[in-house]
Symmetry: C2
Subunit: 268 residues, 2 copies
């Protein structure tokens, strides 16, 4: 089953990352060495969605110098855990991660679902310790952005400074929307919002917005949406029954995004 429109050159389809690495975009760019691809914002396909968005060539070079090694994660590896000292932000180059917050009583909840181009670790700045855990949902690669050096560079590059502020602020807005979802929406609405939100994010990254593969289990989705896994499963089934979507395990196809939008805001 093909699940994503092939977008930006050199970017493996998220559907099957390991396979894609071998087949998909292999013969693409012999002009640029692998070394370059690994370490430079200037040549990164996520450049405009990332911290480097809108920067000029000269400024990009300065960021290139700042970006540390890439880190590769296998599925289920954690990038960082709650309580660990905070040193860097991470830009997702490839793959996806979930972040989970831990309550004192041990309760754990998924607080975010992050994909390529996203910046994670922002909640560690305030306390100098990571406030949550980040776990790879598939094989994943991230760029390490040492925060002290970001702050340093931000002082001389206003565009970078503003980008950083925007990323922080947008994370706050995003969280407010999730609070709205958790505080006042019924289960049906929550799943509809979730599916449409993913669609939009895939769209912005050049992938299909109507057909994608979930990287989370029903339980993780439930945790994110404040629901139990059985409820999530039942909702998927019901949405399929009424022709809103087509589900096959984690493969989702939105058959009627408009109707999905209409679910949001409906009483009873």
């Amino acid at each position: 089953m093909t699940l994503n429109a092939k977008p930006l050159p050199g970017t493996p389809a998220p559907a099957a990352p390991s396979a894609a690495r071998a087949s998909g975009a292999a013969p693409a760019a012999p002009v640029i060495s692998l070394r370059d691809l690994k370490t430079h914002c200037s040549t990164c396909s996520m450049r405009e969605l990332c911290l480097s968005g809108g920067l000029n060539t000269d400024e990009l070079k300065q960021i290139d110098a700042l970006v540390g090694n890439r880190t590769k994660l296998k599925k289920n590896d954690s990038l960082y855990r709650a309580g660990e000292p905070f040193h860097a932000l991470y830009a997702i180059r490839l793959g996806s991660l979930k972040t989970t917050v831990l309550a004192e009583d041990g309760r754990e909840q998924v607080s975010g679902y992050h994909m390529l181009g996203d910046i994670i670790g922002l909640d560690g700045i305030g306390t100098d310790r990571h406030g949550c855990q980040a776990v790879a949902l598939e094989d994943t690669e991230v760029c390490v952005l040492p925060f002290e050096r970001i702050e340093e560079l931000a002082r001389s590059v206003p565009a970078l400074q503003h980008n950083l502020h925007q990323f922080l602020s947008k994370e706050i807005s995003r969280d407010h929307n999730i609070m709205l979802l958790l505080g006042s929406m019924r289960a049906e609405e929550r799943l509809a919002v979730f599916l449409l939100n993913l669609a939009e994010r895939y769209r912005r990254r050049g992938y299909s917005s109507t057909e994608y593969v979930l990287r989370m289990t029903r339980e993780e989705i439930g945790s994110y949406l404040g629901l139990k896994l059985e409820t999530v499963s039942r909702l998927f089934s019901r949405f399929q029954e009424v022709g809103l979507i087509q589900v096959q395990g984690r493969a989702v196809k939105l058959l009627d995004p408009g109707a999905l939008k209409q679910i949001i805001g409906q009483r009873g």
Copy 2:
């Protein structure tokens, strides 16, 4: 009924702001002119809790130059509304505000409850428009901090830069905790968290942490906690019945904070 320990000199007790202005701290500080009190971080009692925390005298002077007028709000006035262009952050000097987010379908939810020393408006940076509405819960005064000038100054004052980042990041952490609350806690636990959180914030500001006056209605508290006003009311009554708290309208006294903490994390 006296409800708050008198703390920092020159700061009216939150219990009765208008009365306090006349009686409470009137004969306190004839050394500093009213004009100074109005416009300078250097002499503000919330200095250390605010953006100016940890700055040296010289740096404080630079912030003083940046801080625009104070704005006075009467109860129910909005400081800003969702969708309005974003120009400035606001530091609360006196009083308190709620922020509310609006869903597309018109649903509204309280997303925050802010008191003196807090900075609000952070979610407007990302989109250049305010993402929520801020409404005064009582007579309130805020300092206007034009954001462009903050960014400018932050480039030359690393301590301010870092403070700003910390404020943004802490807001994210705070939101994650609320998400945890909304997504996985029972009604009892939510109210316990709410009451203890307020206690802690009052404590940090030098007020009593066991006796305070709520500035929100039951409905607003419910909206914040993802509950209906009747549920909030019932919980207050139940908490009182079992001797956890004493409630009289909006006046709350925590009789057994330890037991309140134990409620959090309990099943069933």
